[in-house]
Symmetry: C2
Subunit: 360 residues, 2 copies
Amino acid sequence: MLKESNRLRKLWGMFMEREKVYTINDIARELGVSKTTVSRAISGKGRISRETQEKVFAFIEEHDYRPNVLARALAQSKTYNLGLVLPEDFSVMDFPFFKECMNGICETASRYNYDIVIAVADDQDFSGCRRMVENRKVDGMILSRSTVDNSVMQRYLKEKQMPFVVVGPAKSDDVVWVDNLNREGSCELTGILLLKGFRRLALLGGNRSHLVTESRLQGFLDAHREQQILVEEALIFLDIENYAATAEAVEQILVQKADGILCMDDFITSMLIGCLRERNIRVPEDIKLASFYDNPQFEFLSPTITSLYYNTKGLGQNACMTLLQLLGEEVKEEEAVLNYQVILRESTKQTDNHLISCRA
Amino acid sequence: MLKESNRLRKLWGMFMEREKVYTINDIARELGVSKTTVSRAISGKGRISRETQEKVFAFIEEHDYRPNVLARALAQSKTYNLGLVLPEDFSVMDFPFFKECMNGICETASRYNYDIVIAVADDQDFSGCRRMVENRKVDGMILSRSTVDNSVMQRYLKEKQMPFVVVGPAKSDDVVWVDNLNREGSCELTGILLLKGFRRLALLGGNRSHLVTESRLQGFLDAHREQQILVEEALIFLDIENYAATAEAVEQILVQKADGILCMDDFITSMLIGCLRERNIRVPEDIKLASFYDNPQFEFLSPTITSLYYNTKGLGQNACMTLLQLLGEEVKEEEAVLNYQVILRESTKQTDNHLISCRA
DNA sequence: CTGAAAGCGCTTACAG
DNA sequence: CTGAAAGCGCTTACAG
């Protein structure tokens, strides 16, 4: 094992000398100024003459000097790292969400010269999160949307006075969070379907204790209220969490003669599609169908599914900006607009063609 | 904006005093020893009496002392961070791979008290990767499998003498990499199908310049050779990268009367399923089908797909261990076994029932 | 506007 | 086995 290890290290030229790496001391010496001055020139804090600053900049440029972030971190007791907590397992349907969100977070973080450190953690086991806190590896944390409750972890972070932002709806009031406009989006999608003439829309939702379920339900009701169309209570099915529940709902939907089905998320949609296919019910010929989240996984599906598109990357950016603000960073950019877009596709087609309604 | 920022910070009690956090100096003073001694007790390096060490440990335990990782990092010029480079975009089919792999990496890293810092980067734009290097935020890097070539980034890392490990097949010899046993797995799956009586297996593969395509092709050939069965060249289709190519291959496959189709990856599988469905060709009644990677996305698919399962989490763990070795860390645990498992499901069913062949 | 000095909290030769 | 001291590369009152 040791021999192997040495072989590998040699491969990397670990024993070769590295190129000279400058420190603030070197610069000070070369330029005949104090390192205080150099530090000031770089940070831009405190008074400094234009001339001196330019001299320093020139040197930095020429020798490609980069301040040692570690040293700065120690001096300022700041790490310039943000923690990103991801759940250990999540539904296949949620992958695109996490990836997009992460891209947004990384992009914004690096713009402020912060890095993202990840931890896999949930309420059952947040040792990964705890390590970060105890080792003081991060200045703050982003808790990415998790289906399961993580209030224990949140309490821990509060106790340790570690600033954090939650992506997704928060259960408690004194938690900073960012989220998609679930209620508004749901209202928009429902509204458009109502305008298209649907009168007996069925709604399939997940666990009723999840806040997102509640928001989307409210949006569904809002849209009906706005257009003064009565909601058929018997067509609202919540707690749809498995295939059996979906099948049962489909049974009811057929009996109640719904003219369209709205699924609150893509997990439900995928189960529903399976159900309908099994019973040889065709979409959109026999029944129309729409989903609340636009999943790339359905790209190859036939028929294509009418759905809501959310700006998930923007959500990640906002989460990151919010956290940076908490940390006292001066955030200069505009918040990303967390809009949604209804994308009409084949699954709700009647006589009209593709039509895109865009709320800008 | 500023006001808002202040409100948020108050929310966090940033202005409250934090609990006393001990330093190595405090311990030294309280215990009446030098901080050198305390440092030695903690690190276990150098000679130290049992008695003293225990005294230090007791104090640490009682006051829940944690060394400041930043300070240690500066003193040792080590960050105890590993970079994980992810591509900006990847196919939906690859999500499970990345997540599993990441879980493995994180798990191993934290066991050695390292953290994972992520960067989104590829050859087109690896500024995220570059920032990490320039800011010296990490001790080494893991480049996760990317479909596109990232040799420019690799050259950069070599030049900067930043140790790295590639997950997936490497193009060049002097690169350290870990990968699934693609050739062996492919041979195994093919072999089992041949044993089941298939004689005219078609093979659908992706870009022929990808090493993984080559490995899986070789495995396919190996299996035929082992059982002395002739390979029908006309049934091998490479460069299947879009729906049109898939459709064309299907056309040929029907003409050539293949009795089964092997897809090299799940992207191809999903296109193939679409194609077959469009032409009303039933699986497994009309033709059998198997895929080289076991994707949870096909969970709900009917029929279920016979496929190869890889230990992706183990792959991540190995990648991390390999990197830690490169960094001179004494890796004590066993390498995870990178096995594969052929999982027979409905899509290749003939008269026999479910059967699982497991190579342990 | 500039600098000397102390400090951030560790590690590590070196000397005893 | 233990300790005084220098050092890691920055920042930041404080004094000029």
